[in-house]
Amino acid sequence: MIINKNEIAGILTKLAEEYRVIAPVKKDGLVQYAAIKNGEEACLDYANTKKPGKEILFPQSEELFNYTVSAEGVRMQDNVDKEATIVFGMRPCDVKSLVLLDNVFKNDQYTDVYYLTRRANTLIVGLGCNEPASTCFCTSMACGPFAKEGSDIFLTDLGETYFIEGISDKGKELLAKLGLSAASEEQKAAAAKLQTETKADGSINIEGLAEKLGGMFEHPFWDSLHEKCLGCAACTYLCPTCHCFDIADEAKDCEGCRVRNWDACMFPLFTLHGSGHNPRPGGKARWRQRLMHKFNYFVERYNATACVGCGRCIKNCPVNLDIRQALAEVRALD
């Protein structure tokens, strides 16, 4: 199917009457996902959003439930978000990150009702990248500028128009309702050409990396890797696959709520025990955890790297600690 770019805003406005529509918007100089009512707000001409797409299903701060205590007893109200949602124009790396996060929020040990309810009620419209940035290395990470895994509908930018594909049943159903016109053979061919020929950096070789890291826990490499790291969480908070969180109660008098907030392995507090002991006492143990989690533990557990190659950690690190270089150094070690 095909759609003119100038029709998109109208369609989004229409959809917003029925769904919560979330799209990238330009706000205060940053491109960020936001719920929109008017399709004109959507900004589809962007390289990557500042904050990753994970925040849509797994917000940075989320009230899980609230409660009041009174003479009659305790009242509790959960906060599961069931609103039917369409995410429009998400880049393939962010879409892929949700596929990876699914493993974390639903597995043999744990089922996260908050994430999964949103997941079930959210339809994702992916948007391929005609011009991957120099910091993008999704092609190396089992993803790619036109990877469709996880998208319900997928858009390919043909200049004046978008070529639209229904991927999942859910996506096809929505498309059927929109009554779009069919793409010509020429347009189909143009889309296919873009999809096969556009590549991001594919030179980061991760073959055998997980096994290698597995034997490297005590390697002196870790002594120097972290040396310039400041120990902030810019890399982890802005990473679409990092998913650690902390749970806190916020209460005043007889009212309160339980909140889940993003947390990060780069913070000392993350592993601080009540006894005062910290099993990851410094930057060395923390950076090792970050790299190991992404390229060894996650691979062992879910058979995929917990990195989609979006490049956000590279662009946003205040000291330019580049994860691609860290991986190359690991590879170069005997």
Binding site: E227, A248, E250
Partner: protein, 314 residues
């Protein structure tokens, strides 16, 4: 010899003579317009050191609480921070060798981004006064002084205030300039409040500002304390974000060296300098004090003088 070559030579000599165990400086970064802190421990590694207008991080962060002998390639603001840290007992001056570099200012990538419509830069050349930026289908030349960090545009201590060796000629100092803060002060309280709230709404509480600040070194930051929880941990409440910065600014009263490292590190582009520089200006006006400009003045809030103003007291 250019600055980079001189730095390498001096660093090599220090390492060869075993006068220091380590030279902290900068190496070429992995992206255009980026450098990265670098730790040279051998004369060979010293060859990776560089100097450019992208050496933006405050290296004082890496010399705090070390027991080895360290040399540091330091610009004006790095040295101010180290001077302040020496006075606070965080750096042992006997183990420190300062190789000072008179600094012409560092380039603010956010301003560069705005100036070129945020197109991706694939190649950047610095020809002294100008930056030539190339990307897919564009080439643009920018005057370096137009895209410098605020802290650099107003810097009065480009030449390190103390050093063991200085690379190149000392630069003339500039007049104090707090026009940005004066403009902010001129806004009504409601306008200032709205501006701060807008900035704080972008905060993700990654704490890069705190981590990048050479003067933020409390062993436990109040935001990390769980019992009592002084502050909400989430980033969704603008008030909590603002409270975090307010307490940070207060903890830095009379200690902030106006290096801008906090603002540089913020991934969300929040204008933190308005808060910190406001405090710097206030401390200067109220106490006639500036942090880290010499080894003799006691830190502003560690002392009392008869001339100190009392009009803020009841």
């Amino acid at each position: 010899m250019n600055t980079t070559e001189k730095i390498r030579e001096i660093a090599k000599q220090l390492l060869t003579d075993k006068k220091v165990d380590l030279v902290v400086g900068f190496a070429q970064g992995s992206l255009p317009l980026r450098s990265t802190p670098y730790f040279a421990r051998t004369p060979e590694q010293a060859d990776n050191l560089i100097w450019s207008a992208t050496c933006e991080n405050n290296l004082a962060n890496f010399v705090r609480k070390r027991s080895d002998k360290v040399a540091v390639i330091a610009k004006g603001c790095d040295v101010r921070a180290m001077v302040a840290l020496i006075k606070e007992g965080q750096i042992n001056k006997d183990n420190l060798t300062i190789i000072g570099v008179p600094c012409q200012g560092m380039i603010d990538r956010k301003q560069v981004c705005e100036a070129i419509g945020c197109q991706e830069i694939l190649e950047a050349t610095d020809n002294g006064n100008e930056l030539i930026l190339k990307g897919k289908g564009f080439e643009k030349t920018l005057a370096k002084e137009d895209v410098m960090f605020v802290s650099c545009k107003t810097c009065q201590y480009n030449t390190p205030v103390i050093f063991d060796e200085l690379i190149g000629e000392a630069l003339p100092g500039k007049e104090a300039n707090y026009d940005d803060i004066a403009a902010f002060e001129a806004l009504s309280p409601a306008e200032r409040n709205a501006y701060i709230a807008k900035e704080m709404s972008k905060c993700i509480r990654c704490y890069a500002c705190r981590q990048a600040c050479p003067m933020c070194y409390c062993s436990e930051c109040f935001v990390d304390c769980g019992a009592p929880a002084w502050i909400g941990k989430g980033a969704q409440r603008v008030d909590d974000n603002a409270l975090f910065q307010t307490v940070r600014v207060l903890h830095l009263a009379g200690r902030c060296v106006d290096c801008g490292a906090c603002e540089r590190a913020c991934p969300m582009g929040i204008k933190l300098s308005l808060l910190n520089r406001k405090m710097v200006k206030d401390v200067k006006e109220l106490y006639g004090a500036e942090a880290g400009v010499n080894l003799t003045d006691p830190p502003a809030l560690n002392t009392h003088k008869f001339e100190d103003k009392e009009d803020f007291m009841l």
